[in-house]
């Protein structure tokens, strides 16, 4: 067993990527994720890998596009306004079917917004972000340890499906320190990149072209159908979620992800003392969204569901699509960098459950 070390979330991101075999990192400073780039700038040159501070987030994601097309493991990291700038590149990477990992340590928006923790990039991450019919796999870890584990998964999933994968944390997760263990992982059998990567011919007969342009509508439609088939596979195979305290009859089920889900766990303990049975569905993949988790509890929850977010209800519609009108879906959130206290959330639960017993 590897030793546990106390590490800041942002630095753990860097180390996890290094251990996952990330060969290139292209970044740009922005609060609250700058430590990722700083960590990579210290470590990567020492192990003969590439760290480069780009002139903008736009350039950074396009460097990622170039390196990913060369067949190496590559990552970039930013925070909300910077991730907005990356959307063009992400769309190209998805269109050209290249594997890469993108970190978003989310801060409050819109616009320049603020620098405190938020989850207000849920739509951007899960519903597209850039142009065109594409999907990102989006992981939402809730602890530094889980972030480390998911980053390593992210590189594998990116390679398996030739698709960009986003790991979305919030400022809190990036800044906090927790003990973390870098587990030895079994080497996964991953598909070879030799049949598509543009590495130079080196004797190969057909030239490889990394491309997302299909000028003939028939060709582009065919390409889109291929992508959709891939996304359906991902939906089938890669859904991750946690169900907490969801056994038996439930008064209400909270739905939350990331650091907020940890606050919800405190709420559940508080309310248990008051006789309320509250469960939690914690999506670990925001896309694909864990619809089946809702099937397991929808008939057993008396007052339905409560989405608890650091955003203004962006997750509610995914929950509604999963619940399909069978139970009410409520919302409680804070935004702009405000983080709800357990008491605030508990009060909302009690209000829905018709007052404290």
């Amino acid at each position: 067993m590897a030793e546990k070390v106390l590490m800041k979330g942002n630095e753990a991101i860097g180390e996890a990527a290094i251990q996952a075999g990330c060969q290139c990192f292209f970044g740009y400073p922005i609060t609250p994720q700058t430590e990722v780039a700083a960590y990579m700038s210290r470590r990567m040159p020492k192990i003969g890998r590439v760290f480069l501070q780009a002139e903008s987030e736009v350039a950074a994601i396009n460097m990622v596009y170039g390196a990913a097309g060369s067949g190496v493991r590559v990552m970039t990291s930013s925070s909300s306004p910077g991730v907005s700038l990356k959307q063009e590149g992400i769309s190209y990477i998805a269109g050209a079917e290249l594997p890469c990992v993108i970190i978003n340590i989310v801060r409050g928006g819109p616009g320049l917004g603020g620098i405190q923790p938020a989850q207000s990039d849920y739509f951007q991450a899960t519903k597209g972000g850039g142009h065109g019919d594409y999907r990102l796999v989006v992981y939402a870890p809730s602890s530094v340890q889980e972030m480390v584990d998911l980053i390593q998964d992210a590189f594998d999933v990116a390679d398996i499906y030739r698709n960009p994968v986003m790991v979305m944390g919030d400022g809190m997760l990036g800044q906090m320190m927790e003990p973390v263990e870098f587990k030895e992982r079994e080497a996964k059998q991953l598909p070879s990149k030799a049949d598509w990567a543009a590495t130079g011919l080196h004797g190969r007969k057909e030239h490889h072209v990394i491309n997302s342009l299909f000028l003939q509508p028939e060709e582009l439609e065919k390409h889109n159908e291929k992508l959709q088939k891939k996304y359906a596979e991902i939906e089938k195979n890669e859904v991750k979620y946690e169900m907490y305290n969801c056994d038996g009859d439930l008064d209400i089920v909270l739905v939350s992800y990331g650091t907020v889900s940890r606050i919800c766990k405190n709420v559940i303990k508080m309310l248990a003392k008051e006789g309320l049975k509250v469960g939690l569905i914690r999506p670990i993949t925001l896309w694909p969204f864990p619809k089946k988790a809702f099937e397991e509890v929808v008939d057993r929850t008396k007052y339905g569901f409560l989405s608890v977010e650091l955003s203004c209800g962006q997750m509610v519609e995914d929950i509604e699509l999963s619940v399909k009108g069978r139970k009410p879906v409520n919302f409680f959130g804070r935004s702009g960098g405000m983080v709800p206290s357990p008491t605030e959330i508990a009060n909302k639960v009690k209000e829905i459950a018709g007052g404290a017993r």
Partner: protein, 250 residues
């Protein structure tokens, strides 16, 4: 029978989409021949832009990347940094490079990325149908400067080669033209030299090629060549702007 002229192995044997009279074909050939003569087709990765040469990836025989508008130097940076032994070039037009991609080209040059950029300047946006480019000359009529480019309203053209030659990371910058046989030969020499210096690991190399656009200029190819000679060369003087291998910088 003696063979006097052959297709270059650097280009694939496919028809191109370029308009009649367009000089992209010549410039493609000069790049491809240079790669072939240097024996590096096998380890070259090219980056195509958005613009008329967007489909260049279909024509060059080496591995290719298609970049987003203006981002080719960043994409090339990612390729070269991950595959440092490869030869990497971008092939970009003036809208792509000098407008939307200004940041990318300036910083790739400033970093001294070991890549070569072939910059095709024809004073106009070709693919979208002839709009004003950052290189459009004062007074030049385009679809979006129908009364002629008024520098008071629309600003001045950018002399990209002169600008980049001020950066320490750029080791070789030359402006050439393909308006005559003599100049085509000079252009070839410049392009080949740019690749040679890249292969030697010297730094960022850049060749600006003055080119014509008969379709969007509304001129015949022959008139276009004359327009280039009469209007473009005076504003965009040919020659080496920087060469670290020469003591004397012109």
């Amino acid at each position: 029978m003696a063979v006097v002229f052959e297709p270059t192995k650097g280009l694939l044997d496919v028809p191109t989409h370029y308009c009649p009279g367009c000089t992209h074909g010549i410039i493609h050939r000069l790049v491809a021949e240079s790669l072939e003569e240097l024996g590096v087709i096998d380890k070259t990765i090219g980056v195509a832009p958005v613009g008329c040469s967007v489909l260049a990836y279909n024509y060059f025989a080496c591995d290719m990347h298609e970049a987003a508008h203006g981002r080719a130097p960043a994409v090339a940076t990612g390729i070269k940094r991950s595959l440092p032994d490869s030869v990497v070039f971008t092939y970009q037009g003036d809208g792509d490079l000098a407008a939307i991609g200004t940041a990318e080209i300036v910083h790739a040059a400033a970093r001294g990325e070991k890549i070569t950029t072939i910059f095709v300047n024809n004073c106009i946006y070709g693919m979208t149908g002839g709009q004003m480019a950052p290189t459009t000359l004062p007074g030049q009529v385009t679809e979006t400067s129908p009364y002629g480019r008024d520098v008071k309203l629309q600003g001045h053209p950018i002399r990209v080669s002169e600008m980049l030659s001020t950066l320490d990371g750029a080791v070789y910058v030359e402006r050439v033209s393909v308006d005559s046989v003599a100049n085509v030969l000079k252009a070839k020499k410049a392009i080949k030299k740019a690749f040679e210096l890249q292969i030697e690991g010297k730094g960022f190399t850049f060749v600006e090629v003055l080119s014509i656009c008969p379709t969007n200029w509304g001129l015949s190819p022959r008139e276009s060549i004359k327009w280039l000679q009469d209007n473009m060369i005076p504003y965009y003087p040919l020659g080496v702007k920087k060469d670290i291998t020469q003591q004397e910088v012109k």
